[in-house]
């Protein structure tokens, strides 16, 4: 069945059959065949238990229909002849009966061995001496014991099952929903409801149970008596979050699938407890609406501590909040730049550095700045417009001006920095390489117009002409020719370069030999960004790794990204969304029109007039 090429009969038809656009069609068919082949290879075969349960259910239908018919007929006969003379019809299902492997069983009758059950009506029955099981009407399940052990494995594909599991027995419940769960239960009473296609509700009446998400590497959730958990879309998200945290997590609060409605999970390390704003201890996992550092504190000692003083960095990673920067009085220009604890903003007349939310220095600037400032290890660099463009360098620590370098550039792009060098490229094809340590600038040129801002990595900078890709620095080296017109800044990663082209496609270029090693057609790609050491294609509300192919839908419109945290906006709020955790980790509603948000390439900070937020 496998096919990698178009067969000769189809080739002949394409060649001689008067097919319009035959070559284009042939290419599309080949591409589609390859894609379908990839999809087919990745397809998961459904679990056998699902099929077996369905077969049992199918077989039950007929007895049920016949039985109902017979029951009706019997009722009529009873009315006519009289119940006293009617022999008992054991083949007719009565209320509470169940059908196991096609045979009717009476409630309470012990059943031994592996079996599938389709319950026509609500029924209680026992499995050997290990569990008493109550199945609601229209429940389908499969039960199998593990040989030689007191382990019971129940797969519920539809309906509701509750059970009392006798102490000493381990009962494993598997559900076949969108988010499959395995529940390990020892001597307890519980119920599992899988009536909804994508949600499972688990309630525990006594004892306790551990719920393990489908990925066995993740920590489980211990559910205690009286608690009820509902696993839906948020379960998936929360599971992903737990992966990034310490394995000592004992409690995990799910967000009920409402991540997009401001709820977020709180994580409590083992043997810790939650302290609310009033200093009271909160027992057990909690569902929290919104994430505010001042709302809850976590402590492992007997004394309540505010979260600010907790040194557990893992926890702080999960609990972050936007902080409004104080001390800004004038309307700022551009989105501020952020590096570590420092944020640099500029208004019409001043350049200011804010450290940890506090104004550290502010200095007058002679002319208007044309792009957001660039922060390097020791300097703050801005471009100012005069008759030509001037490069101004300020000391990051003090704000003192250290250099002012006039250039011949007239149409520069935002600058890029690597190590001690800053590259400023001009649309004319000229660029300036400024060495911060030596305070010297060296001009250079590529033999065509530059069309995008330069991008830097640890070894140098890349500038792009319409089709040429160049490494610039001490000298200019042509790396490759793009397989189309370049329209967005290139991204350099792991010896490759990712490009966005005018036809909407993306190309991956091998930097060592200049060959195009992959073409992609990301859906409505708007830009390529570097996250860690992987290029990501960004498209409105989506972001997708161009290496792994993992696509993430964002909870709003993309604004910027830094350190794997995407800044997005919805109609009324700014959201910080962690790609690693796949969850919103912070949110703020500035109360201003979202249209006023300045876009930034480093998404940790947003400016709207003089309202600026930094994610702490």
């Amino acid at each position: 069945m496998k096919k990698d090429v178009i067969d000769s009969e189809t080739e002949a038809m394409l060649r001689d059959g008067g097919i319009p656009n035959a070559k284009r069609l042939r290419d599309a068919l080949l591409a589609d065949m390859e894609l379908r082949d990839r999809e087919a290879n990745a397809a998961q075969t459904p679990a056998y238990e699902t099929i077996e349960t369905r077969i049992t259910t199918q077989r039950v239908r007929f007895p049920v229909i016949w039985c109902v018919g017979l029951a009706s007929a019997a009722a009529i006969l009873i009315a006519v002849i009289g119940i006293a003379f009617m022999p008992r019809a054991h083949t007719i299902l009565a209320a509470g009966d169940i059908v196991v492997n096609g045979k009717a069983h009476r409630p309470g009758v012990p059943i031994i061995g592996s079996w599938s059950a389709a319950v026509a009506r609500s029924a209680v029955f026992s499995y050997d001496s290990m569990a008493l099981i109550h199945a609601a009407a229209d429940t389908a399940m499969h039960i199998a014991p593990s040989a030689g052990t007191r382990k019971l494995r129940i797969t519920v594909t539809r309906g509701m099952v509750s059970a009392y599991v006798r102490p000493g027995t381990e009962c494993i419940i598997l559900t076949k929903g969108q988010y499959p769960l395995t529940m390990h239960i020892h001597g307890t009473t519980f119920s599992v409801d899988v009536r909804e296609a994508r949600a499972v509700t688990v309630a525990v009446a006594e004892g306790g149970m551990l719920v393990q998400p489908s990925d066995a590497s993740m920590p489980g959730i211990r559910i205690r008596p009286g608690e009820q958990y509902r696993f839906a879309g948020g379960g998936h998200t929360a599971s992903a979050i737990s992966r990034t945290l310490s394995s000592t997590m004992a409690f995990l609060s799910y967000s009920r699938g409402d991540i997009d409605r401001h709820e977020a999970p709180i994580f409590v390390p083992k043997e810790a407890s939650l302290i609310d704003n009033a200093g009271s201890r909160v027992d057990g996992p909690v569902w929290v609406r919104g994430m505010r550092r001042s709302l809850y504190a976590v402590t492992g000692s007997t004394l309540p501590k505010r979260l600010d003083s907790v040194s557990d960095t893992t926890l702080l990673t999960a609990v972050r909040a936007p902080v409004r920067v104080r001390g800004l009085t004038n309307a700022i220009r551009f989105a501020p730049s952020v590096s570590g604890d420092d944020a640099v903003v500029c208004d019409e007349h001043r350049l200011s550095l804010i450290k940890n939310g506090t104004l550290r220095w502010s200095t007058d600037i002679p002319r208007a700045v044309i792009y957001a400032p660039l922060i390097t290890r020791s300097s703050v660099i801005v471009l100012m417009r005069g008759e030509a463009i001037t490069l101004h360098v300020y000391d990051r620590l003090t704000g003192r001006s250290t250099a002012s370098i006039p250039t011949r550039l007239t149409r520069p792009f935002p600058a890029a920095a690597f190590e001690n060098t800053v590259i400023i490229a001009d649309a004319s094809g000229e660029y300036l390489s400024y060495d911060i340590a030596r305070r010297s600038a060296v001009p250079g040129r590529i033999p065509e117009e530059i069309v995008t801002a330069p991008t830097a990595d640890s070894t140098g900078a890349i500038v792009c002409g319409r089709t040429g890709i160049y490494a610039v620095g001490i000298k200019t080296i042509r790396i490759a020719t793009a397989p189309g017109s370049i329209i967005m800044p290139a991204v350099s990663y792991r010896g490759n370069i990712a490009l966005g082209l005018a036809d909407g496609s993306a190309a991956i270029i091998d930097r060592t030999n200049g060959t195009c090693i992959r073409r992609l057609m990301p859906y409505r790609m708007e830009r390529i960004v570097l996250v860690g050491d992987e290029p990501y294609a960004v498209s409105g509300g989506w972001i997708a790794s161009m290496v792994s192919g993992v696509v993430t839908r964002l909870p709003g419109t993309y604004i910027g990204i830094e350190d794997g945290i995407v800044l997005v906006r919805d109609q009324s709020s700014l959201l910080w969304y962690s790609l690693a955790a796949r969850a919103i980790i912070a949110r703020v509603s500035p109360g201003l029109s979202m249209d006023h948000i300045s876009k930034t390439q480093n998404g940790a900070l947003i400016g709207s007039m003089h309202e600026v937020y930094v994610l702490k």
Partner: protein, 184 residues
Amino acid sequence: MPDVSKDTDHELIARVSASHDRDAFRELYRRYAPLITRYASKLLPMRTASVDDVVQETFVRMYERAAAYRPVGSFSGWLYRIAYNLSMDVHRTRTIPSDMTEQYAHTSASAEDTFFADDRVRRLRTAIDALPHDLRSIVLAKVYIGMTFPEASEFLRVPLRTLKHRFQRALQYLGNALGNGEGT
């Protein structure tokens, strides 16, 4: 549990037919479920949920209709036909792939393929979906399943000449569809 792993397909389906033998059925599932999954995936790209349904329904029907099976051809051919017909039923419903409606937290192969799929492929698939059923079934059998004209003729029960003519018409339609959407 009896060892059925060495039984032939014909022997197994005969046992399913005679006594609804679960062990025989399980063995057939073990042998063919991965193949049918691949097969249905090729016929129903980006419809993971539909592929699951088709695979399940194929085996349920095999179980129910085991008595109707006649060992004149291969068992696999019979099973593939069931899967094919069910896949065509899904095509007729023209449902939106459910994977596309997932929450943003969800990442699936379908989303990946949708995001990265070549635009030509997207247009081609749209055009194939828009084909009349008799033309679409020929394209899928001929191009994606890889049947020869005589095999497709027998499989689809369409006379050979008619089939070739329809295939040509289908390619013409697809060629036009691709050409109309192309800017260059």
